[in-house]
Structures are given as C-alpha cells and as structure tokens.
C-alpha cells in the first residue's frame, strides 16, 4: 500500500511540474499527436468533479469510523487519485485550449481555476495529515475545494456551451449560410456578408445585438444600432462601420473589439469600396468591370482564401490514404488533384516497368481516377476493359501507346470523359465512330495517327461539335535548310598519326559532301563522305549536308591537324588582352578552342588587341622544321562586345639557335575578307626556310582597323589564336 502511494505521489509531482511548465509556455507548438491528447479533456474532466463532490460524504463517513484503518488508507488513496486525475485534466485542458477558438476572458478564468483545483487537490493529501485533529479546518478545506471546483466547472461550461447557457433563453442559429463564391453571386452575399458573419455577427445577432446592432440581414444593417446606421452609401469616410474599424486597436470603440478576430486590410478595403460603390446588395461580381477596384479586391480575397474559389466538386468519396500509398511507386504516380480534392490522377512511367497488372491494381481506386496517362507505355488494347471501369474518368492520355484502336469502343461507357489523347498511335478513323456521341467529350487529339485530313472531315460531320486536334501538318512549299556537318568527336580535331577524321550529321538519309582543296562543295560536287578520312598535317575540310527535299546546309569550314613537332618550352613575349591566366599553355596544349559559336573564347584562346602576339618556342637541339601553322578564330560575323576576331594582317616567323641570333625565316599576309563570312577557325600556314632550329619566334599582327563594310568599321581588330603547330 505504502509503495503504491509513494509511486502515486511521485507521479503527481512529476505531472504538476509539467503543469507549471504549461502555465508559462506556449503549448501550441507541440506536435499534433501531443495536441491530440487535449481531446481527452472533455472526456476526463467529469471525474475530478464527481470525485471531489463524493469526497464530502466520504470524508464524513470516514470521520465517524476512525478506528477503521483500512478505510482511512482507502481515503488517502482516493485523495491521490483525485490529485492525479485533476492534474491530467488540467494538462489536457491546456492542450485543448491551445487549439484556439475559445472566448479569451472565460478561458482565462477557467484555466487558472483548473490549475488551482489540481494544486489544491494535491495539497489536500498533506492538509489531511496536518489537520488530523482539527476537523473544522479540514472540512473548510474540503468545502473550499468544492467551491473552487464548481466555479471552475462553470467557466468550463460557458466555454463549451456559450455565455448565458444558464439564462433559460432559447438560442437559435443565425441561419445565414455562406455561399460558395461563383461569378453569379452578388458582391454582398459572396464577399461582404461572409466576412460580417465570420467576424462581426458573433456579437451583433438576434440574441446579442450589442449596441443595438443586428447584422442578420441587410435590412437590419441599414437600420443600424443605437449610434446610427452602419454606413452612408457612397461615402466610406462618413460611414460608422469604417470609422470604427479604423480606430486604434486600444480604443474602446474599435471594432471588432480587442481580443476578437480582427479584420484584414483586404477586408476593410472591401467594405470601404463596397460602400463607395453605393452599398448595393444586388450587384453581382460578374457585372463588375475588369478594372473595377472592387472586383480586384474581391479577386484578391478569393486568391488568399482558396476555400472561396470555384473548385470542381466531386460526388465521390476520397480513396483511403493507405490504398493510395500502397499503389504509389516510381512507375505509377498517384496524386490528388489538389490537397482537398478526392479526385486522383494516375500516371505511368518507364516503359520497361509497365505491365497490365499495374493498371489492373488501380481498380481499387477506380472511382476516384479522374485523369489517367499511359503516355509512351507499351500498353495494348487489353487496357480498355480496365479503363472503362474507371467511371469518373475525365482525361485520358494514350499518346504513343501500342493500342490499335480496336478496343476504343469500350470507352463509350465513360460518361464523364472530356478529353481523349491518342496522338502517335495507329488508330484509324473507324475506331472512333462509337465515341462520337459520348456525352461529356470535348476534345480528341489525333495527331500522327492513321487519321487523315479527309477522314477528319467525315468524322466531324458525324460527331457532335467537339475540338479535334490533327496537329502539325508540314507546309509542302516550305523547304528548310539542313544543319552543317560536324566532326564526330569535337575533342578529336588534333589527331595522332593513325587516327582518322569522321564527319557526321544526325539527319537520317543525309549525305555529307566535302572538299579538301579549298573549293566549295555543293549538292553535286565534292566527295561524298563514306569512309573516315586519314589525317594529314593539316586538312582543311569544307563540307555541306544535303538531302532530297531539304536545302543543303551552309558550308562548314573545319580544320584538322596532326600533332606536330613537340615544343620543349615556350613563353609569351607580349601580354594578351584575353586568356591571360593560362598564358602560353593555351597555344601548345593540343586542345582546339571551339569556333562555331565563339564558345570558350575566354578559356581556350589568347586574344590580342592592343599589341601583336609575340611568343618564343624552344625545341630540342637542332630540330628540322619546315612549316608553322597558326590556328586563328575568324569571327567577322560575331557581335561587338566579345571583340572582333579577324584574320591577322601579317605573320612573321624568326628562327635561330637562340633568342639572340635570329633571322626572319618566313612571313605571310592573309587576305582581308571583303564581306562578313561564317564564323570559323582558320589555320594559316607559313612555310619557313628549311633548316634546323632551337628557337622560333612568332609575331602575329592584327588588322589596324576593321574594314569599311563592317558595322564597327574603323575600330581595332582582334587576333585570337588557340594553337600553334610546327611540322
């Protein structure tokens, strides 16, 4: 027994520590499952009340039988249980109250009385011991506890049943039903009244009529209260309700009063504008002009409160969360259309994972499926009996499935089907004939099926007016230009001895024609690319793509290089204006910069504008060298702010045993282009005096001024170089 009691008394202490904590913190941050415990408050609160009431006769009974120690022990045990249950009740009460929705003043009283009851009932255990010989004191304590309990319970009752529950007055519901907001509802019924009902009618109703004001309908509102009418039509500034809501929150005349739910600024704005527009109770939202301020405010309110939105209402029940969860997988996504909608969309993914079984399993949520997509799945005609059991289906996507169309007839049972997509399938016009009268059908997508324009005319004549989408039909007179051939591997522009050049164009049936002699190929001349081309030191290829029914591509100008004599070391003698950090490495790293789009101008090229490119290259002793090849960017067609990479004006090569003993061994002066030409990377070959060299110095001078045909004529030209080869 004593062990039992000591466990209980410890438990009471622990629980009351929690109760103290609850008094000082905001419990609303607790997780939902803890908050749920609050729901037990109404369940258990009657236990302490009845036990405390019972305690009075029980106490008298025990007082008469002091010699019965068992009875005394039992009394003590009951006291413990009362303390425990009173504390639990108080704790649960805190959790319940945190959910909100209670009248704050009554709540305050109830809360502190409840806490007091818990602590006092705990204290009774010790008081009984203290007052063992002073019965009057003990009885007084008991009576006080009882009074406390009754008062606390009263406020609890007020919270649950409302103020004046004991006033013997019949209470009626106000009777106004807030309508769903559609464009046909009036501004008053759809927007103004619901707000008044939610935030004002609490005190201004048939029963309460605070200030003599009743808001049950517009007539009562116009009548107003003891301070006069609620509004002056057309003049919000003079309207009492607007004035009252704009007062400072602490002003005693502010409405709604402090402590009640306040109006949002949008709602106040709404009232003001509605009054300004004449406080018309008949005007519909629909009748308002698009630019009307009132319309915009309401739109804003609808926007912030999705419950006011026109959402499609479905008659069916939601499927259980567990069955949705069970069916959901990466290959079969099941989603609610929106958070509050019972309607589901089902989409299948990954061809290799699709089986008919996966679709069959959906029958357990068949009533809820409103959208179904099997797009791209290898699904055949066996799907139709299953799909036709999804009676609420509205949207069906069977694009690019393997259906033949034979089973389509079964879909005719889907009375709610609005949209059917069968693009990229082999269905024929006949397959659709049974669907033409479907009651809800609005659109059919038949692009890339076996249905021709002529078929469609027949179908249209037989069907009710629905939207048919035949899709893109190429314009026969429109001929398009092919894309240029490309090297098969952009990283293989610099080749080893045994490597080959491969060109490609992704267009089926396209031919690539090319030349290596600098002439321009066309659809008749030039060699047709069939076999890989063996690399030479430098192979400048001009190539086009041709195909019947298409315009041949532009000429692409691509140069392939063979790795030449390796450079021992090198250094830049002038500062580049671009590509600085990597410096000389760019010229000898055996990496081509891309030229087609001007990509990588920043990382794979050295650009010079204010001074010529000068660089020195060292070789192993007495290396025989005959040619120097400089790969440049030629972007006469590029835009301004990236600089204007032009062909160099002059290239000068000097050579010798070391930098101090040099002579000029070769020069080249490339032609200045006479018009804009496609961007390309163009190599310049400089033949040098044959001989053996340890050191070669390269100078590349840019054009001083852009030619007169260029949009930026007169500006400085750039020179961009990405690689230098020695052969």
């Amino acid at each position: 027994m004593s062990r039992h009691l000591s466990v209980l008394s410890n438990l009471i202490i622990v629980l009351q520590v929690f109760l103290i904590v609850f008094c000082f913190v905001d419990v609303s941050v607790l997780p939902p499952y803890v908050m749920f415990a609050g729901r037990f408050h109404p369940l258990i609160l009657h236990l302490p009340i009845s036990l405390i009431i019972l305690l009075i006769p029980f106490s008298f009974y025990v007082q008469r039988r002091k010699e019965h120690t068992d009875l005394n022990s039992l009394f003590e045990l009951v006291l413990h249980y009362i303390a425990i249950i009173a504390t639990l009740t108080a704790l649960a009460g805190f959790l319940l109250a945190a959910g909100g929705g209670y009248e704050p003043a009554a709540l305050q009283f109830h809360k502190w009385l409840g806490v007091a009851i818990a602590f006092v009932s705990h204290a009774l255990i010790y008081l009984r011991k203290a007052f063992v010989s002073r019965l009057a004191f003990w009885n007084t304590s008991l009576l006080a506890t009882l009074m406390l309990t009754i008062t606390g319970s009263h406020y609890g009752g007020t919270l649950t049943h409302g103020e004046g529950f004991f006033a013997f007055k019949e209470k009626k519901e106000s009777g106004v039903v807030i309508p769903t907001f559609t464009e046909k509802t009036t501004v008053f019924a759809g927007a103004v009244q619901p707000v008044l009902m939610a935030k004002c009618a609490y005190c201004h109703n048939d029963q309460k009529m605070k200030g003599g004001l009743n808001m049950k309908d517009i007539a009562s509102m116009i009548k107003g209260g003891k301070n006069g009418a609620m509004w002056v039509s057309g003049d919000p500034e003079k309207s009492l309700m607007i004035q009252r809501m704009l007062l400072d929150l602490d002003d005693k005349n502010h409405m709604p009063p402090k402590g009640k739910t306040q109006l949002s600024s949008a709602e106040m704005h709404l009232f003001a504008e509605w009054i300004r527009a004449g406080a018309n109770a008949k005007k519909t939202y629909h009748a308002l002009a698009e630019t009307d301020t009132l319309k915009k405010i309401i739109a804003k309110i609808i926007e912030t409160d999705p419950t006011l939105k026109e959402e499609k209402v479905y008659a069916f029940e939601a499927a259980s969360a567990s069955s949705i969860k069970k069916l959901n997988s990466p290959f079969r996504t099941i989603r609610q259309l929106s958070a509050n909608s019972p309607a589901l969309s089902v989409t299948f993914f990954l061809q290799e994972k699709f089986t008919l079984e996966l679709l069959k399993e959906c029958k357990s949520i068949g009533d809820q499926i409103v959208e179904l997509s099997l797009s791209g799945m290898p699904a055949d005609d066996q799907i139709f009996p299953i799909i036709s059991s999804f009676t609420n289906l509205e949207k069906l996507n069977l694009n690019a499935t393997s259906i033949t169309g034979k089973g389509l007839t079964e879909l005719a049972e889907l009375k709610k089907l609005e949209q059917l997509s069968v693009a990229s399938t082999s269905i024929k016009a006949d397959d659709l004939s049974s669907l033409l009268k479907m009651p809800a059908l609005k659109s059919i997508y038949i692009w890339n099926s076996k249905i021709s324009e002529a078929d469609l005319t027949t179908l249209k004549s037989k069907s009710k007016p629905i939207h048919w989408e035949l899709g893109y039909i190429p314009n026969k007179t429109e001929v398009l230009q092919l894309s240029v051939p490309l090297p098969a591997d952009k990283d293989k522009m610099i080749l080893d001895n045994e490597e080959y050049i491969v060109l490609k164009n992704p267009m089926p049936n396209a031919k690539i024609r090319y030349t290596t002699d600098g002439t321009t190929p066309d659809s008749l001349t030039g060699q047709v690319f069939t076999n890989p081309i063996p690399a030479t030191n430098l192979l400048r290829i001009k190539a086009i793509t041709t195909a019947p029914g298409w315009i041949s591509s532009e000429v692409t100008d691509i140069s392939f290089y063979r790795k030449g004599i390796s450079v021992d070391s090198a250094k830049l003698l002038t500062e580049p204006s671009r590509g600085g950090p990597l410096g000389i490495k760019i010229l000898i790293d055996l990496k081509k910069g891309l030229s087609q789009t001007g990509d990588q101008l920043y990382t794979s090229w050295l650009g010079f504008v204010n001074n010529p490119l000068k660089a020195g290259f060292y070789f192993k002793k007495n290396t025989p060298i005959n040619k120097v090849v400089i790969s440049t960017a030629d972007m006469t067609g590029s835009s301004s702010s990236g600089g204007n990479p032009f062909p160099p004006r002059k290239i000068v090569i000097k050579g010798g045993p070391d930098p101090k003993h040099l002579k000029q061994i070769g020069t080249a002066s490339p032609e200045v282009p006479s018009a804009r030409r496609p961007n390309a990377s163009i190599p310049y070959i400089v033949s040098i005096e044959p001989g053996t060299y340890n050191y070669i110095e390269l100078e590349v001078h840019q054009l001083a001024k852009l030619p007169s045909w260029h949009p930026e004529k007169g500006q400085k030209a750039w020179v961009f170089v990405d690689e230098v080869f020695f052969y």
Partner: protein
C-alpha cells in the same frame, strides 16, 4: 529537408532526453517545449501541405524558354511606329523623366530615338503585333498571351536574371523551379523535378551561372539538374563495362547501407539526399534513354522543330528535349538561350537569334497542343529586361544598338491556364514607360505559382529566423492573363 532535419534532431534529442528523464510522453512534450524549433520546425516552415497543389491547378508543369541577354521588346512584340517616325530625334526628357540608365549609355550626350528596322504585322484574332523576325511565333498568336508590361528592378544582366529566377537580386534564394519542386513535389520519381538546359546563340552572349537554378536554403534535392548539351544529356549514366544491372543494384544497396550508417552517426540531412539521388540515378538509367529515343517521333517532328533539333546542344534540340521531359512529368524545365544582348549590331544579332529560336519555340507550343498537353503545361518565353528606345552609340544606316531597359518589356506565355490569343498591358508611344496594367517580376511569380495551384503568400520556408517566399513581401496575381 526539414523532414530529415526533424528526424535527425528528434533522434538525438529524444534519445538524449529519454535517458536523462525516462518519462515517456511527458518528456517528449517537455522536450518539444524546450527544443521546439529543432523538433517541430515544420509548423513554422510552411502552412501548406507540401507535395500537393493547394487548390486545383491550371498548370501542372512549366517550360520556361528564357531568352538570356534580354531581347528587345521593340523588335519583337511592342510595335512603336512613332519611333520610326521620330528616328534620330532626341528622346524627350518628359518621357525619360530622369530615370536611371546603365553605365554604358549614361554618359552619352544624345539619346536618339530609333525605330525597329524590322517590319511588324498583326496576327491572330487578337491582332497582336509581331515583328517579321518571328514568322513561326506569329503562327501561334492565337495560343499565346503577350504581356507587354513586364518590368523589373534590376538594370544589369546578372541581378536581373537572378531576380527573375529567385525573386531576389542577390542570389542566395531558391529559384522558381526549386520552389515548385519543394511545393509540389515530383511527378516522376525517375527524373529530377527541375531540369536545366543550356544553349547559346550566335549573338552577343551573357553568362548563366548555377546560382540561377540553386535550391538556396531548400533541401538540395530541389536543385536544378543541368542536362549536358552533348550527345548524352546525362553523363556517366551507363553501367561501366563489365558491370551488369544486378551488380550495380547490389553495389547501390551496399552503398546505401554505409550511407545510412553515416547518417545515423552524423545526422547530416545531405546524406539522405545523397541516398535518394543515387536511387533516382539508378532509375534514370532507364528513364533517360527513353528521353533521347527519337524513334517514336513522327518524321514531321524534325520539320516542325527544324533540322537543328537533331543536333544536341542547340536551342531546337533543347526545345524538343524539354517537351519530352515535360511529357515525362518533369515539373519545371528551364531553358536558357544566350545571345540577346544587342548593345550594338542589333539588326544582325537579332536576325541570327531569331533564326535560332523562332521555329523551335513555336514548335514546342504546337507540339504540346497536338498531344493535348498544352492546357496543363505553362510555356513562358522572355528575357530578363527590355531594351532602350534610344540608340546606344552612333546610329548607322543599317545598324544600331539598344541598351538595357528595365521599365517595360514583353514576354509571352501559353497554355496552363493562360488566356490564349491575348495581349496584356500597354506601354507609351515611345515604348519607354508603362501606361496600363504593369506586371512586376513578383506579380509574374505570384501568377505562375497561382496557375500551379499554390498561393504565393502561403508557400513559405523558415530560414535564419524568418519565413521566405518566392515573392518575398510583394506580388499580386495578374488575373487579367488567366483564362
């Protein structure tokens, strides 16, 4: 992220607390009082049910064709004949009103007005004016809504792009796609919910940076995944030689065990993200080949998008890939096409840029439409700001340039709940200021989120002590462009 973080915090603090106090329910409650942020941050993070549209969405997916560098509104959709009439005359001070200019033209002595060198005609039932550069886009005039009154706060590329993508100019926030992934989840668990495709035109280009598709403070699963512009959009997806699918599976299972152990020990939520990403990559081994497989495409697809659509890395190829990604349930496909920064040489650059994008952009809309997907896919086409109505540099006989202009510019949107065949808003005769129905970037974001079934004011994430939204503290849904 907060789920995992919660889990982690819960693990540690609960275990810790249980050992100390051993009081079951009560201790959990007290623990949550003392460590409420750690334990139950979710209540603060967002008032929305994550992973679901808040209300029935008009659009399920977005394809954003971002024209990086800012195409001129005056050569695309905002027809201003007055500029041709006043060609070369000075921009009136009453129009400029001393508004901010960039450093590139602020020091010009003169601001000569310049008319478009390209002709304009009216198309579609709305009679939308579209320049002769875009014959194909003109053919979808009845499907698109041209918004002529976009305006932004930033005047240079990087902040303007960042603002458009993240709702803030600074670039530490999650981008639009990341918010969508966070708010709506993934439709197809075999692919990332947010993918990014890059291409570059022949015009003057401006860079794009990974911060534009950043997850910001959201979990890194929401980060945009850049698909490569090469032949294989996702690299290293094939099993290495000699490894079959089963041994790959076994390897991943073992790896996941190690990672789970690491998560147990360190509790870093990024470890769980990594495990998830490995699993998705494994499934991508099957999903990606389906994307690149063109065998189910019609022959007409090539004609529709143009032959470039077969060349990986081109805008046309990215548009086609975008359609396939979107069709496969990718929530947000973000394209960037560079090359619209026409400070000079506008006539040439715009021509080349238009050649690259016109056909494919229109084809994408047509392609979605013919598959019955346009009504649930929102397509957006536009840049980060507009361009000035005056010439940058000297006016040449047949060439000119335009500087950055944030005060007004044009974009178009199609599908996904957009009112088709309409033109929204009006600018003044000079194409400089907005006269009716301005749409700020925040408004744009609010509208896009709305179309996706999310209230922009309620999709929030608590970070560094405050709640963040894509629209920050601004933004109004533009109801005028919603069907």
């Amino acid at each position: 992220m907060e789920n995992q973080e919660k889990q982690f915090r819960l693990n540690v603090t609960r275990r810790h607390f249980l050992t100390k106090a051993g009081l079951g329910f009560g201790s959990a409650a007290l623990g949550s009082l003392l460590f409420k942020d750690q334990l139950f941050g979710a209540n603060d993070a967002s008032s929305l049910p994550l992973g679901l549209a808040q209300y029935a969405p008009k659009a399920k997916r977005i394809i954003y064709l971002f024209q990086n560098g800012a195409p001129s509104q005056l050569e695309t959709f905002d027809y201003k004949p007055l500029l041709n009439k006043m060609h070369g005359e000075e921009l009136p001070a009453s129009i400029r009103m001393g508004q901010r200019l960039t450093g590139m033209t602020a020091n010009q002595d003169k601001f000569p007005l310049i008319g478009s060198t390209f002709g304009f005609s009216q198309y579609g039932q709305s009679g939308a004016w579209i320049s002769s550069l875009f014959p194909n886009m003109a053919s979808i005039a009845d499907d698109i809504c041209i918004v002529k009154t976009m305006n932004t706060e930033a005047i240079n590329h990087d902040p303007a792009l960042t603002f458009f993508q993240t709702g803030s100019q600074q670039g530490n926030r999650p981008s639009m796609g990341a918010w969508m992934s966070y708010g709506l989840g993934s439709e197809n668990a075999n692919l990332p919910a947010y993918t990014v495709l890059l291409s570059r035109g022949r015009g003057n280009g401006q860079g794009v940076y990974s911060k534009l598709w950043s997850n910001g403070f959201l979990d890194s699963v929401h980060q945009g995944v850049v698909f490569s512009s090469g032949e294989n959009p996702v690299l290293y997806l094939n099993n290495p030689e000699g490894q079959d699918k089963k041994s790959r599976r076994d390897m991943l299972d073992e790896l996941a065990k190690f990672n789970s152990e690491a998560f147990e020990n360190f509790g870093d939520p990024e470890i769980n993200t990594r495990i998830k990403q490995y699993e998705m990559s494994y499934r991508m081994q099957s999903a990606v080949p389906e994307l690149t497989d063109l065998s189910k495409e019609s022959d007409n697809t090539i004609k529709m998008y143009g032959p470039d659509c077969l060349v990986p890395g081109t805008y046309a190829a990215n548009c086609l890939l975008a359609r396939k990604l979107s069709e496969s349930g990718v929530r947000f496909v973000q394209l960037y096409h560079q090359g619209w920064d026409t400070h000079g040489n506008l006539a040439n650059d715009m021509t080349m840029q238009a050649e690259d994008v016109d056909r494919a952009s229109a084809a994408l809309v047509k392609d979605l439409k013919q598959r019955g997907l346009l009504d649930e896919t929102l397509v957006i086409w536009g840049g980060e700001f507009g361009r000035t109505n005056y010439c940058q540099g000297k006016i040449d006989k047949d060439n000119y340039g335009r500087d950055h202009h944030p005060k007004c510019f044009s974009i178009w949107m199609a599908g996904g709940g957009i009112k088709p065949g309409t033109v929204y808003g009006e600018t003044d005769e000079f194409g400089y200021n907005i006269t009716r129905d301005p749409v700020s970037v925040h408004d744009f974001h609010a509208t896009v989120l709305h179309l996706m079934g999310i209230n922009h004011e309620q999709l929030t994430y608590k970070h560094l002590g405050r709640r963040y939204r894509l629209t920050d503290v601004a933004g109004q849904v533009v109801n005028g462009i919603i069907a």
